[in-house]
Assembly symmetry: C2
Homo-oligomer: 328 residues x 2
């Protein structure tokens, strides 16, 4: 069922069929309807590659994540997928395994086969990113690079809320449990934390970096205890959940002896034990917005974007992993 079959069937040229299907106003109504009817009848589906080859548009967007098993991305994938399907585009999922080289390599490889890419938690240095953004429409998530449009979740603001929350509960020694140094969000959160602490005349301790997996949580928990802090704010929920587990194992009461605040509010944060106080991030929305920005960008190539960055608000969701500071 190619365009030619339809052409033969309806007695017009292939080019007319093409136009009837993709630029309907360019062909006479009766011809168009005859063609469209035939197309429907034959169950015609245009060949994506052929179309891409000549038009340059693939109707496909790549979503790069650093680790497909990180629940944080589930929401992102979902949101992106939703929005893409609404626009009739396909989603190419790419796992960069947390490696900048691999990320770069894969980006290069798919460069020609997608209309644009969404980089969730890119590990690429700023300069490399700029280069890529110059030759391919890019939207980043939680990563701010000049000239590259992005959607960032305002977790720094959330971190401040978390600090206020903890300070109001009489915590004075609060530590930040850091994630990967190559993560832009990690540094942003740390900066916000120091600022918020300073506002109360306090200084934050910092431990890490740790990998973003639950197993890293064990090490992180021990390190956190060593700081003597009465509360810890972690880079993300995965780490926080790992910490909770290790603390339970060591018989440390949460929040009696130490409070733990996570970040992102991923799947599981509400039913772990104790349920995690965390920064609720509109992850799915971030995915949708990222796609919207990208598609919008694609439609107006050449024009300068009206908005380069969208900041999505977060809020602190208080559950049972945080409580009053223990009496000394």
């Amino acid at each position: 069922m190619t365009i030619n079959d339809i052409a033969a069937l309806t007695g017009v040229a292939a080019s007319t069929v093409s136009r009837a299907l993709s630029r309907p106003d360019r062909v006479n109504r009766v011809t168009r309807e005859r063609i469209q009817a035939a197309a429907r009848e034959l169950n015609y589906v245009p060949n994506t590659q052929a179309r891409a080859l000549s038009s340059g548009r693939t109707e496909t967007v790549a979503l790069l994540v650093s680790d497909a098993t990180n629940p944080f991305y589930f929401g992102l994938i979902r949101g992106a997928q939703q929005q893409l399907r609404a626009a009739g585009h396909a989603l190419l999922l790419i796992d960069t395994e947390d490696s900048a080289e691999l990320e770069n390599h894969l980006l290069h490889k798919v460069r020609r086969s997608v209309d644009g890419v969404i980089l969730a938690a890119s590990r690429l240095p700023e300069q490399t990113l700029s280069v890529i953004a110059a030759e391919l429409p890019v939207v980043t998530v939680n990563r701010n690079v000049p000239g590259v449009r992005s959607v960032v979740i305002d977790s720094p603001d959330g971190v401040m809320q978390a600090v206020e929350h903890l300070v109001s509960l009489d915590h004075r020694a609060i530590a930040y449990v850091a994630g990967p140094p190559s993560s832009w969000a990690n540094e942003a959160r740390w900066r916000a934390m120091r600022t918020a602490m300073a506002r109360h005349g306090l200084t934050a301790a910092r431990v890490g970096p740790f990998g973003v997996s639950r197993s890293s949580g064990s090490v992180a928990a021990d390190a956190l205890l060593n700081t003597g802090a009465t509360a810890g704010v972690t880079f993300n929920d995965l780490l926080a959940i790992g910490i909770l587990r290790r603390l339970a194992e060591r018989g440390v009461d949460v929040p009696g002896e130490i409070s733990v605040v996570g970040c992102d509010d991923i799947f599981g944060a509400d039913f772990c034990s104790p349920p995690l106080t965390t920064l609720t991030a509109p992850i799915e929305q971030a995915g949708r917005v990222a796609v919207s920005m990208l598609l919008d960008h694609l439609e107006h190539l050449g024009e300068t974007a009206s908005r380069q960055t969208v900041l999505l608000p977060t809020h602190l969701t208080i559950r049972q992993s945080s409580g009053p500071a223990p009496r000394r």
Copy 2:
């Protein structure tokens, strides 16, 4: 950077460049090396669509899931992704939103742009599936259809283990909490459950069907309590976790008053409260195996497969959501 640029640069014909890159033995060593060097230098990446157009191979595989946010699929996606990347293929992720029509429609749409598809939890009727499998390489996961190769996780066997476990703890009234009727696995588990119960002269109760989300768990929990059963085996972990939550809310002690056994051992099953006794399924492996089968099938098109179905074993992981039956 097309094949022609390289041809011009090295002074050979484009066809020779093509061969040097894709069928190296077909061209002289020195010519080949000169071409390969040039390709490397120019950072040449073959255009996927162009290649697909002429060769018919897209090096892309679609993975259809019924709901991208279901943690069960995370592992599957991961496993598939890993194996695909190792083979240099790309992964097109498609969310069918639990709708058979949408699934069919999307399958039809991508039919020409992928080399094959993996259907995880297809909702399609058997006949439709056969039709699709005839015109496109297909591997199903947890779905057995004659003539379609598949990888199925042997949860029926696991369900039997679960029943043995519960019966040994003196449970006599055990209920199955059913998932979507359109799920093949759901029926398979129910059958296994009845068989296992019958072996002990017992009959299983059944409640449901319920949606596979945590929120459905609330309704399911209440229904489960109404059966008077002292233990419930659920279609999957998501449902089980929802049930645990609702039971906690109602002040029902687990496992003191009622035991709950889940299925799949998804992310979260080990840290919910209480940690869930569940059937541990090799999900990631399932993803890898599915891809292997598909790629293998692609390489030997026309030949009849040696193995049509791979059965992956499960085992019961006993945690704290199951315990001795309460005294009457």
